[in-house]
């Protein structure tokens, strides 16, 4: 066995190496878990705030303008600046990263949820009213189900961009997979580590996106039936 080791060629600095993945599987998994956990919590919290906001904007039309305007302004603020605004108050921790990514995810979901709700056909709404649906019953049985495609689009966009955004958390040392990428860059430009971190990020985004798309198909069976 030992002669094989001695004959192993100079490892150099390859872009990808299974050796690296095997040797560091614990670190990789820990970073992946932190990243996934942050993303999941962020999107969930954002959705819990965003959907009620969208419903408020839908019920009280005058609110829609200000809500969209405020979200637009927030969206213009660079992520690093948002970290700079929040970190001096919340300190260096997961809460700060969470707040920043929740803010961004919130905006994406609110916009898409409002778009989805306003696309509910007025005939359907009137029919529901004629059948004696109250405001809440109509919301849960008619409006939200019909707005689901829009809301899900928002969730998917928010999830994918959150996965990418969490990496900015390296500025306070809480970047999940970004930590790996950044450390790889600082430690003698370790290409395999940078690339593995990047690939895991993209894969995570892809997997979560596909999972949400799958959930969407399950929740809106009528859309699949219509298109087939």
């Amino acid at each position: 066995m030992s002669f094989r080791l001695s004959y192993r060629a100079d490892p150099g600095n390859p872009w990808f190496s299974w050796q690296y993945v095997r040797d560091n599987s614990d670190t990789l998994l820990a970073a992946l878990r932190e990243h996934t956990w942050l993303t999941a919590r962020a999107v969930l919290i954002a959705a819990l705030i965003a959907v009620p906001l969208a419903v408020a904007a839908y019920w009280f039309r005058p609110l829609a303008g200000p809500i969209l305007a405020i979200t637009g302004v927030f969206y213009t603020i660079p992520s690093l600046a948002l970290f700079a605004f929040i970190a001096p108050y919340l300190g260096i921790g997961a809460v700060t990263v969470l707040s920043v990514v929740v803010l961004y995810a919130l905006l994406v979901i609110v916009r898409n949820a409002i778009a989805g709700l306003t696309q509910v056909p007025p005939e359907v709404r009137e029919a529901a009213e004629g059948m004696g649906y109250g405001r809440w019953a109509r919301l849960f049985r008619i409006d939200l189900p019909l707005a689901l495609p829009g809301i899900l689009t928002g969730l998917r966009l928010a999830t994918v961009s959150t996965v990418a955004l969490v990496t900015v958390g390296v500025v306070i040392g809480r970047g999940g997979l970004g930590q790996l990428i950044f450390a790889g860059f600082q430690n003698n430009f370790y290409k395999a580590q940078i690339m593995t971190g990047t690939l895991l990020c993209v894969l995570l985004a892809l997997v979560l996106d596909l999972a949400l798309a799958g959930v969407g198909r399950l929740l809106t069976p009528w859309l699949a039936r219509r298109s087939s």
Binding site: V73, Y75, T76, I77, P78, S79, L80, A81, L82, F83, A84, F85, A87, P88, Y89, G91, I92, Y104, V108, R111, L157, V160, S161, V163, A164, L165, T167, V168, V170, V171, I172, G175, L177, G178, I181, F182, G184, F185, F189, K191, I194, M195, G197, T198, C201, V202, A205, L206, D209
Partner: protein, 240 residues
């Protein structure tokens, strides 16, 4: 003293503005990086987007480019590109930023040409214009409002993303924030906040100026009709 007080004090110190590596230097770097990245993005995305729109093919490709770049962290490109043939320094930072400018530019150029009135297109064809002439004399002028909207979205995004260039010591206003975090929160809180105000202020300023430019280059009759579609095209591309 509160963090806000510290930030005000930091911003009020003239040396912080004029020192080498001070605010003015960083602002210059930030603007040069952003301008170069947006220019590069336009150079790549506009011809492709206009051509795809003209031929009516490649709509899927436009969406795919937008989705893929959404999933790639800025940090990854910023750290990977210097290790390629681009080398360390400005070129790699500019290319990394340009990559994120491409989706809005591409999507809006494509949509801009696609939405051109088919009757105008047919009329131009009937007058004997070649495909190239139709693109240049009919579709391109009609797409200008979309190009402007895409330009604005891309520019704002690049100015925002350029703050991250500081992770690889690429310069720009983000460097002030990074340096503040390097000092630790208690000592650098004011500087961090001040840097955040500068970065956010620049992004908002660029947004406002370009919104005015967009209005100026949009002919009056096109103003009302354009809004819905261009928002949709812009919304396809998000992320900080």
């Amino acid at each position: 003293m509160s963090v806000i007080g510290q930030a005000v004090v930091w911003l009020n110190d003239p040396l912080n503005w004029t020192n080498p590596g001070g605010i003015l230097d960083r602002l210059g770097e930030h603007l040069v990086l952003s301008a170069a990245a947006v220019a590069l993005g336009c150079l790549v995305a506009w011809p492709i987007g206009l051509w795809l729109g003209h031929t009516g093919r490649g709509g899927g490709l436009v969406v795919m480019v937008a989705n893929v770049t959404l999933a790639v962290p800025t940090l990854a490109l910023l750290t990977i590109l210097p290790l390629t043939f681009l080398g360390f320094g400005r070129p790699s930072v500019i290319v990394a930023l340009a990559v994120f400018a491409v989706p809005p530019l591409l999507a809006n150029a494509y949509t801009g040409v696609r939405q051109a009135d088919p009757e105008a297109r047919d009329a131009a064809r009937g007058m004997g214009l070649s495909g190239w002439q139709v693109l240049r004399r009919v579709e391109l002028p009609l797409a200008v409002p979309y190009l402007a909207a895409g330009f604005r979205t891309a520019a704002v995004q690049v100015v925002a993303t350029a703050a991250l260039a500081s992770f690889v010591n690429g310069g720009g206003l983000g460097q002030i924030i990074r340096a503040g975090f390097g000092l630790d929160i208690a000592a650098g809180g004011g500087q961090i906040l001040a840097g955040g105000v500068l970065v956010a202020g620049l992004a908002v300023l660029v947004e406002i100026v370009l919104a005015l430019v967009e209005r100026l280059v949009t002919p009056r009759p096109l103003r009302a009709a354009r809004r819905g579609a261009n928002r949709r095209a812009a919304d396809a591309v998000t992320g900080g």
